[in-house]
Amino acid sequence: MLTKKTVAESNYTLEKLDFWQGVISSGPILLGIIPFGITCGVMGLTAGLTPLETVMMSFLVFAGASQFIAITMLGAGITGWSVIVFTTLLVNLRHMLMGASLAQYMVKLSTYRQALLSFLLTDEAYAVTISRIYQQGYSAAHHFGVSISLYLTWALSTIVGVLVGSYIPDPLAWGLDFAMPATFLVLLLPQITDRISLVVCIAAGLIAVTGALYLPGKWYMIAATLGAVLIGGLMEGAKANAK
């Protein structure tokens, strides 16, 4: 017969196993995160941020795309608090969807754990966690293992980028900033799954280029996103009505 103590111990062992399975299953993605994080560190310095500011952003914000956008804006001399913070909000709105889809599994966790796992939520952590849910069910330890290994890898590779970056006179002259659109391409292509998403992308591209020519600062991103989302939502509505 199991005593309370041995049950607690076997639960602990199971949680530890799940945690390390999470760390391991994040492995392939880490390969992609490292060059991205290093680029983030290099770009922070290039944009005129101090090493500490660049690394702090990775530790506190932990959102690759919006960090790159903020750094790019700061480098271009756009230092308006509201523009940068509002753009960050728009870029990260997608996390609300992921949070919503994970929420039903996280309901039993303590508020502290919910808040911690939410702070660590990224596209990559979501992808690995949701596929584990489909395969074996939800495990908070696994979720945390995936999330914390992505977080530490992102933060540490930013530090590496900051250290390496100080030995490179002007990394942008090499075209290293090209790593950003190239990475976004890999993230984007799997999302183009039907005619509507293709139209959304074409609309976003056209509005972005037009906006970049005629709108101040980086507001073309907000115009392109809102315009394309409006078109996509209306097309979904027309499709739903036609059924």
């Binding site: 702090m56 903020a70 997608r94 929420a103 039903q104 090209f178 976004f184 292509l189 280029v209 509505g237």
Partner: protein, 106 residues
């Protein structure tokens, strides 16, 4: 550390956490309503496209569709690699390789 940068980083951290936590707090009982998902699901591809296209088509701020635009040429290579492999390392290697080759031998 400059204070205006600290405020920007703090603001970014705050709104990022808000986007990640709000729905966990709000929808953990009910799930996301379908009508909202219909609109929000297009945000990621729209934002990514708005990041990629100007970076490749107008790297200097003006539209440049020519063989002199290394970003556009390397971008086409990267797009092909991303489409064929869906792999970030392969895409970065081929794309950045093209970019560096154009920079030094182009």
């Amino acid at each position: 550390m400059r204070s205006e940068i600290i405020f920007i980083i703090a603001g970014m951290a705050l709104v990022t956490f808000a986007t990640r936590y709000s729905c966990v707090a709000l929808f953990r009982q009910t799930g996301m309503p379908d009508w909202l998902e219909r609109w929000l699901k297009h945000i990621p591809p729209a934002i990514l496209t708005a990041l990629i296209v100007p970076a490749l088509v107008m790297p200097t701020g003006q539209i440049d569709i020519s063989l002199n635009n290394h970003y556009l040429l390397a971008g086409l290579v990267a797009a092909l690699a991303a489409y064929k492999t869906r792999n970030i390392v392969t895409t970065l290697t081929l794309g950045l390789g093209t970019m560096l080759a154009l920079r030094f031998w182009g």
